[in-house]
């Protein structure tokens, strides 16, 4: 093991704000967001890419924050749960639908589910239940049994089709 761990400074945009910060090369994007930028809304559930809790949006695509290195996010646009609400701070249609439909219990997996569905509904506003269940199949929720999450996503899709932003 070398005495000094390799580090570098990266510049990226997170939730619309540009950040320049130092990170160890080996840090995952999720660790960097949580510990480097203090954005602890992104959660780590397994750190081996299965549970989906750490999902964030990178250039609009849903990405596992535990499987991507922070240095790979250089120059990219990242959105986390902290950046999902409407600009005036009110809940987005998807967030509001989760509250209305009891789409969360402990709330630990919720950040990854909201980011996953935000990207999916943006691209598939007409999705039905089977498609939504497939879209959610990479996110593990231990509390809800998923049904209320699917109801919330369907409700949000209706709102989005009526013209609101995801």
């Amino acid at each position: 093991m070398p005495d000094a761990l390799p580090k570098r400074t990266i510049t990226l945009t997170v939730n619309g704000k540009e950040h320049s910060a130092e990170t160890e090369d080996r840090y995952s994007l999720a660790d960097f967001l949580r510990h480097g930028l203090g954005l602890t809304g992104t959660h780590l559930g397994c750190e081996h890419g299965v549970c989906g809790a750490c999902t964030v949006l990178v250039d609009g695509q849903a990405v596992r924050g535990c499987l991507m290195l922070a240095v790979q996010a250089e120059g990219r646009q990242v959105v986390t749960i902290e950046g999902l609400a409407n600009e005036d701070g009110t809940l987005s249609p998807l967030q509001a639908a989760f509250m209305d439909n009891h789409g969360l219990q402990c709330g630990f997996c919720t950040p990854g589910i909201l980011t996953t569905l935000t990207a999916y509904l943006r691209d598939h506003p007409n999705a039905g239940e089977p498609e939504l269940r497939e879209a959610l199949s990479g996110n593990i929720c231990r509390c809800t049994g998923y049904d209320t999450i699917v109801r919330a996503a369907l409700a949000a899709a209706r709102t989005i089709r009526e013209g609101a932003k995801a």
Partner: protein, 783 residues
């Protein structure tokens, strides 16, 4: 008389806004000035001894502050083990874990040292460089084999693996079997899984040298148990140890234990004079967080010519794992749960609890009940097969009737009180479930499907569950000087929405909105006594305490306002956050003004009739468990080629007494069924013959996903209990308990053409293909 503007309504959760915007504060989100992070050095062997731990290289690594072994812990901890939660006279060797093992490890993952460093990354780097002179020993890898003569022993000091024996029952079992028209015998083997909350465990500890006090945050279901264990370990006074639960990302039972890390991290914080955090990762969770469900049931049922039960007898082997943090209470629950909703004239169960070199077992959503229900319901299906009866009809012939309530089973429950079913209508629950599931039409559906080459099946799971156990869970309510009402409770939430539920109960009594209430739970600093969130007990216990305290606080607010207005208390009434004189134009005083009145002015006497206590406390102590019940019906399709199971329809009739918030209870049931689907089809901790865990990622240990878990059709029956002021019973585990029984019965029913019998769970695709293949071989041999 209170109104019910909130109780019984689908009130939206007070918890959600923060959790939906990333503002939750979970354990690993806590960041204190100067905080260090920990990584543990853990045993790679299921059983080994050691004498030396060489941490010289690790200590010299960048960012490493300390490496602690058992020898480095405070002298008060020497030779001490974690406090046993539930002692029992039948335990042969009441052994719990040491904070750090001193010379022997008994399962893979047991901690022997901890590295404290500037970051978790650096701590993990150093932990890899700690060298231990392991001497591996033979290991006991399965509870059945562990009890055979000559089996390797779990602890080197033992001569066998018996952790305890229990024998319980009632009636003349021998006569029942002598007089039986038919005897059905079977062996059932439910397997190990675990809770897997999406947030793993974790601890942050701060030691305050000035006041000799700990502040400990733990991702636990039981902050008061952690507090008790810390007090026991360090010999400190209660008010010097405060344990706080931050937002907790799920519990499901395993976070109901006190773990070594909850003692070692405080010790490190005190030794080093800096805050220390340890956040468990998922691999550690697979290795070290408690599990459950490995049991072996050898059971026989004696029935008459009509399939009416005369008696059940048998033996149960329960896998304790390497230690007994919760004693032997789980197999006790299993044995007392087995009779379920059926009239059983005679019963005898001999239980042997076996140590194995596996991570300890403790209550996991259902706590020994899913296995008991699996055994009993599979037995009922076997009776039906033997007698050529419909499985629903066999159950119908044996139900305890609503008119039999209260029904004394003839056993003593784990709370020391008789198993006395309080309320419920078991025949009606099954009838409604069958009706909702289209049970009567199923034979036609099955025939039509088979004609298309599709194998569909249906299965039933009935259960009765003792919930709402004591001793108590308290609540203190206070009207604050900002006009809001605070509820302080020992109850710690992990997703169940205690804030919302407790606020609903309080809001109705005080005639305010739920959003006017702040609920602070899971903090030993605000509530000196508490038991914990387990055994589906919080709504019953904390909810009843809130009700009791709300009634008292209501009286105090009315009396205070009456004194202010110089009228009789019956002449004032609560309006929204105020008290007013009854009548069209009566004066009113707000909660805020009342609270400020009770605060007084420096140096002045309080006004006549005013006391500085606009607060009330309640400690509801239930006399016994209250028994929830339900009926589940699963309809599945099995691909006989691949063994894939698809759940086509899942029906639940659920009776947890008075429902406080149907939205939340539906959520508990649906989530519980999902866990039960895992137990039925997917989740199994596999160990090799040396007791090494083979399933340590979510790629090996499969969790239920959105594509597998169907929308359950949930019907609530409400049989209020007279045992608490709410009429409520527990709802957190009932979704899980009968699901493996119902689903496995449905799979077996689907495979009727192959003559397959299923006696274990989870039933994986591979296992289904094996069973079909074995059944076909048998059929060919028969020819």
């Amino acid at each position: 008389m209170s109104s019910t503007a909130f109780v019984g309504q689908r009130v939206k959760r007070l918890e959600d806004p923060d959790l939906l915007t990333g503002k939750g504060q979970f354990l690993d989100d806590l960041k204190l000035p100067g905080m260090l992070e920990a990584a543990f050095v853990r045993s790679p062997f299921a059983h080994a001894t050691f004498t030396e731990i060489d941490a010289a290289e690790a200590r010299s690594m960048p960012g490493v502050i300390a490496v602690l072994t058992a020898k480095d812990l405070p002298p008060k901890m020497t030779g001490k083990r974690i406090l046993l939660q539930v002692p029992h006279p039948q335990i042969t060797y009441a052994v719990t874990q040491e904070p750090l093992a001193t010379s022997e490890v008994c399962f893979v993952g047991e901690a022997v040292a901890v590295v404290i460093a500037e970051s978790r990354h650096l701590a993990e780097d150093a932990a890899e460089r700690v060298i231990v002179d392991w001497e591996p020993l033979p290991a006991a890898s399965h509870c059945d084999a562990a009890l055979k003569p000559g089996a390797p022993v779990t602890h080197a000091c033992m001569t066998d693996n018996v952790a305890g024996r229990l024998s319980l029952g009632f009636g003349d079992v021998e006569a029942a079997f002598r007089n039986a028209a038919h005897v059905i015998e079977a062996r059932y083997e439910p397997h190990r899984g675990t809770g897997h909350p999406m947030e793993c465990r974790g601890v942050v500890a701060v030691y305050d040298l000035v006041s000799d006090a700990f502040r400990i945050w733990s991702s636990t279901q039981t902050p008061h148990n952690t507090q008790r264990a810390v007090i026991d370990m360090f010999g400190m006074a209660e008010d010097h140890v405060r344990v706080i639960t931050p937002d907790v990302g799920g519990g499901f039972g395993p976070k109901n234990q006190v773990y070594p890390e909850e003692l070692v991290i405080p010790a490190a914080a005190r030794l080093l004079g800096r805050p220390v955090k340890w956040a468990e990762d998922r691999r550690e969770h697979f290795l070290t967080t408690t599990q459950e469900r490995d049991q072996v049931w050898d059971v026989s049922a004696a029935v008459d010519q009509d399939g009416v039960l005369l008696g059940v007898r048998g033996t149960l082997i329960h896998d304790a794992g390497a230690y007994l943090p919760w004693g032997i209470i789980m197999p006790y629950i299993s044995a007392t749960t087995l009779p379920g909703p059926y009239k059983l004239p005679a019963y005898r169960m001999a239980v042997t609890v076996a140590f194995t070199n596996l991570v300890p077992t403790t209550p996991l959503r259902g706590a020994g009940r899913p296995q008991a229900v699996f055994a009993m319901e599979r037995l009922m299906d076997a009776v039906a097969q033997k007698l050529g009866l419909d499985p629903a009809e066999v159950r119908r012939r044996n139900f305890i009737q609503a008119s039999d309530m209260p029904y004394d089973m003839g056993l003593t429950y784990r709370d020391g009180a008789p198993v006395m079913y309080d309320t419920g209508d078991y025949p009606e629950a099954q009838a409604q479930a069958l009706s909702k599931a289209g049970y009567d039409d199923f034979p036609a559906r099955q025939k039509a499907a088979l004609a298309e080459g599709r194998h569909i099946g249906i299965g039933i799971g009935n259960y009765v569950e003792g919930t709402g156990l004591g001793p108590f869970e308290g609540a203190t309510l206070r009207i604050l000087t900002n006009g809001r009402v605070a509820i302080y409770t020992g109850a710690a939430a992990a997703g169940q929405a205690h804030r919302t539920t407790l606020a609903q109960i309080c809001a109705d009594e005080l005639n305010i909105d739920v959003t006017d209430i702040d609920v602070v739970g899971g903090d030993t600093g605000v509530m000196p006594r508490g038991a914990g969130t387990y055994a589906s007990r919080i709504t019953v216990n904390a909810g009843s305490s809130v009700r009791i305290a709300s009634v008292e606080l209501r009286g105090k607010a009315l009396a205070l306002a009456a004194a202010k207005f110089d009228v009789k208390p019956e002449d004032v009434e609560l309006t929204h956050g105020a008290v007013r004189i009854k009548g069209e134009q009566g004066d009113s005083v707000t909660f805020e003004e009342l609270a400020k009145m009770t605060s007084g002015m420096p140096g002045y006497a309080l006004p006549k009739g005013v006391k500085p206590d606009l607060e009330a406390s309640g400690y509801f102590t239930p006399p016994q468990a209250t028994y929830s019940n339900g009926s589940h019906v699963a309809e599945v399709e099995v691909d006989a080629e691949t063994g894939q199971v698809k759940i086509l329809k899942y029906t639940v009739v659920h009776d947890c007494g008075t429902v406080i918030n149907p939205m939340l209870v539906d959520g508990q049931v649906q989530g519980g069924v999902a866990h039960g689907i895992g137990n039925a089809l997917l989740e199994r901790m596999v160990f090799d013959e040396d007791a090494n865990p083979l399933t340590t990622t979510f790629a090996d240990y499969l969790m239920p996903t959105a594509e597998i878990v169907p929308n359950c059709d949930i019907v609530h029956m409400e049989s209020p209990t007279p045992l608490n002021p709410l009429g409520a019973k527990g709802a957190g585990e009932g979704g899980t308990i009968p699901a493996p029984a119902a689903i496995v019965a449905a799979v077996e029913n689907a495979l009727t053409p192959f003559g397959v019998r299923i006696t274990d769970c989870p039933i994986t695709p591979q296992r289904i293909v094996e069973l079909i293949s074995a059944a076909q071989d048998t059929t060919q041999e028969d020819r």
